[in-house]
């Protein structure tokens, strides 16, 4: 007896819970009238819409709801012409929310021959890098042209990586498109997180002008012969310097690493808070990536000939010591610098030289954010004496989530963004180049006189100095802690790199 009761009450609760769920689901497709109105003389639909929603244009929602009701219940009037209603008709007034949905659905764009993806909504996860301005400027134009809507989700470097990985691993497909750092290509490819674009590229080859894209730019998304991201923004590692400071000291910009060190020392005036060089020292990706840039400029390598991590090679230890030497002529806070703080140090005029990504260059001429307008010039990044010049190359690709249901529309955006005409606008709104034609464009060269240096840096660019292997994040984390530990005096260069090597080896097992 008790048992029956128990089961009965359990069932009742279950039914109750289910009814909660289903009533919500039903609300989606069945019209619910919040109230009913019998038409009086002198009523018209807009007047009623104004009365119930405060919006005379919402009349269509009443008409649609009433017609939908009339289909199943003939006590409601069927409205053939929204301009004509008769006294005595019974109308269905949906709730304000439902009316909103109905109106939106009526206005929703429908695909047409010219806009085959109209009405599609794409979500783009983007790094909050300078090129964000370019997205903000260009996306509305793309939306107008195609009817596709793009929602931007702007994230910092670490957050972007974590959110994307969570999205991929959980197959939640929150993001259709994502900006993808060059160093993530290996990991994303090996895990099939993003869609290989090769089929799209083969199909649309005629319109893509693939030959025009700088060879090094493909490293932004290529892995083992397939393209897991399309080049979006190519950066070259360049040396920015203060023309005025160097002229005053009567020196030329350094051509070699050794000259860079000597000059940094010469120009440092700690008593007046002026330093020779700005560097990235903050624990984590910042210091790891800057150190790897120095390894590249000294002809060292993070991986050995077999592709195994060789962080603690004698050569790398020496390079780390050189890197530490440079920090003596950097602002004291530099061991805490992330990219933005390094930029601040240079833009506020506290340092004479700074190696960094070429994309920041245009910002030094913007008096809103820079107090060194007109005093900056750029040179090729100095390499160590006797080394055949190679320049660090980095930047961002744009990929399509392998789980996305809108891959065609997403590809449409990638294709549109990479057309030469749009690329010019992209550059003019803080984007970065990927095409030779952009870098050689006479107009752009007039606006951006440093483009020839960029072109040369791209031609001799090395996109693999930070190993783009699937285990990259571990190398970066190990170096991020160890190099920072060395710079703040926690341990010697040898110990630091030994520790990093042990950590990477343990993690890669």
């Amino acid at each position: 007896m008790e048992k029956v009761k128990k089961i009965a009450s359990a069932l009742m609760i279950l039914v109750f819970l289910l009814s909660l769920i289903s009533s919500q689901a039903l609300a989606q497709d069945e019209v619910v009238c919040e109230s009913e109105v019998v038409v009086q003389a002198n009523d018209w639909l807009s007047k009623l819409a104004d009365k119930f929603y405060g919006d005379i244009l919402a009349y269509q929602a009443i008409a649609d709801a009433t017609n939908a009701k009339a289909a199943s219940d003939d006590s409601y009037a069927a409205i053939q012409d929204v301009n004509i209603i008769e006294p005595g008709w019974k109308l269905c007034i949906p709730s304000a929310e439902a009316a909103g949905v109905l109106i939106e659905a009526a206005q929703a764009k429908t695909p047409t021959a010219e806009q085959p993806f109209a009405g599609t909504e794409l979500t783009l996860a983007t790094m909050t890098d300078q090129f964000l301005t370019g997205f903000r400027y260009l996306i509305p134009k793309f939306e107008e042209e195609t009817g596709i809507t793009i929602v931007l989700d702007e994230l910092g470097y670490v957050d972007l990586y974590q959110k994307l990985t969570a999205d991929f691993v959980g197959h939640t497909a929150n993001y259709d498109l994502m900006t993808m750092d060059i160093v993530w290509s290996g990991e994303y490819a090996a895990n099939r997180y993003t869609l290989p674009l090769d089929d799209f590229m083969a199909r649309d080859e005629a319109e893509l002008q693939l030959d025009d894209i700088m060879p090094v730019a493909w490293t932004l998304g290529e892995w083992e012969g397939k393209h897991w991201a399309y080049p979006l923004a190519g950066y070259a590692n360049v040396l920015n310097y203060r023309k005025d400071v160097l002229a005053e000291a009567g020196v030329e910009p350094p051509k070699t690493q050794q000259e860079l060190l000597a000059l940094a020392q010469q120009l440092t005036d700690a008593d007046n808070d002026f330093y020779g060089v700005a560097l990235l020292g903050a624990k984590g990706p910042a210091v790891a990536q800057d150190y790897m840039a120095w390894v590249q400029q000294h002809g060292g390598a993070i991986l050995d000939a077999d592709g195994k991590p060789a962080l603690n090679s004698a050569e790398n230890v020496e390079i780390l010591e050189f890197f530490g030497e440079l920090f003596k002529y950097a602002p004291p806070g530099a061991t805490d610098y992330w990219w933005d703080q390094r930029e601040t140090a240079f833009r506020t005029g506290n340092v004479a030289m700074m190696e960094g990504w070429s994309i920041a260059r245009a910002g030094y001429e913007d008096s809103d954010i820079s107090s060194v307008v007109g005093n900056v010039d750029v040179a090729k990044a100095p390499v160590t004496e006797g080394m055949d010049p190679k320049y660090g190359f980095g930047g961002w690709g744009i990929g399509i989530n392998a789980d996305s249901e809108n891959s065609e529309a997403a590809w449409e955006f990638i294709k549109w963004l990479s057309t030469p005409e749009i690329q010019k606008e992209w550059i003019r709104h803080d984007g970065a180049p990927i095409r030779r034609s952009t870098l050689e464009d006479p107009e752009l060269n007039k606006e951006y006189p440093w483009f020839p240096i960029l072109l040369e840096s791209f031609e001799k660019g090395d996109g693999d100095y930070r190993p783009r292997i699937p285990q990259y994040s571990m190398i970066q984390d190990a170096l991020g802690t160890a190099v920072n530990g060395y710079l703040v005096g926690e341990m010697s260069a040898q110990d630091a790199l030994d520790q990093a090597q042990a950590q990477v080896e343990a993690a890669m097992q």
């Binding site: 128990k6 990985t165 990991e187 061991t335 805490d336 699937p470 703040v488 341990m491 950590q503 993690a507």
Partner: protein
């Protein structure tokens, strides 16, 4: 129908009424906990292309106790907990005694002191990070004016980073202890103090022999609560140093975050989290025992 059966029936009804809540607790707390316990026995890294989710038994736990990074993280955590809790207790008590008087000024001062508690720890971290900044920060600026060599800034120097981070925690959480101790002070009976004064006790003697022993319950609650919270510190570290310089401020919870959310090494991160859970659980049980004793 006997009474006992009737009672049983009622119990079943109670259970039914509790069901929604139980389901909620199960979904939100018990299932994830059991799952984290389960996966801690597996080699399970989400971003590993050849990921197999192999059963490895206790290997993750054994690795944890051999991993130099974990050892550093645990010892950093202990330093952090000991430093913050002791100083917060002392300051909290001192502030409570100082501000116990029921005057208008004291009331205003007290409410101002509560403000740090109302700010999100992450925001607190960001505020202090900019205050500490070696090149642009206010604190560093005044230290330099006083002729102190700030070097890489308070958060950038190996020897100073941990105390600097602890100071943030102390700034934020001392007021909480002050409130707890104030409540304790207000609930003390006045008679023993009157009696002591009649017997000629000095203020120090009446504090040492009357106030402190009678305040013991409040002190214990404050101590245990802050210890448990301090063990779980994350936001402040995340916002200020990211565990740096080097690994000087990497506490256990931050290390777990790195392993889990940067390497997505879920098996190992779960094992580490369970170790932290055991530490905190032991402290929590202690907390409950102490609380129960007081009610008697």
């Amino acid at each position: 129908m006997s009474i006992s059966r009737r009672f049983k029936g009622k119990e079943a009804n109670y259970l039914l009424l509790l069901l929604p809540l139980l389901i909620f607790v199960f979904v939100i707390a018990i299932y994830p906990l059991a799952f984290s316990f389960f996966i801690s026995f597996f080699k399970y890294r989400l971003t590993d292309p050849d990921q197999t989710k192999t059963f490895v038994g206790l290997a993750n736990y054994i690795t944890a106790f051999k991993d130099p990074q974990v050892i550093t993280a645990i010892s950093n955590t202990l330093v952090f907990v000991a430093g913050t809790v002791i100083i917060e207790m002392l300051f909290g008590l001192a502030l409570a005694l100082l501000l116990a008087a029921e005057t208008r000024t004291m009331r205003i001062v007290r409410s101002f002191l509560l403000m740090p508690m109302a700010i999100t720890p992450l925001v607190v971290g960001l505020i202090w990070k900019s205050l500490y900044n070696a090149d642009f920060g206010v604190i560093s600026y005044y230290l330099k004016q006083l002729g102190v060599d700030v070097g890489h800034g308070p958060l950038g120097e190996i020897s100073v980073a941990m105390p600097a981070v602890m100071l943030i925690d102390i700034w934020q959480w001392t007021p909480l202890l002050m409130v707890i101790f104030l409540a304790g002070l207000k609930s003390l009976p006045l008679e023993p103090f009157d009696a002591a004064r009649v017997d000629g006790a000095s203020r120090w003697q009446s504090f040492w022999y009357i106030t402190l022993p009678m305040l013991k319950p409040a002190l214990l609650i404050g101590l245990l609560m802050r210890t448990v919270q301090s063990f779980k510190v994350f936001d402040i570290i995340y916002a200020t140093t990211s565990g740096g310089p080097g690994s000087a401020t990497t506490v256990l919870n931050y290390h777990i975050f790195t392993v889990g959310m940067t390497f997505f090494n879920m098996g190992y991160a779960a094992a580490l989290a369970n170790i932290l859970l055991v530490i905190v659980a032991v402290l929590s049980v202690l907390y409950i025992i102490v609380l129960e004793r007081q009610q008697i």
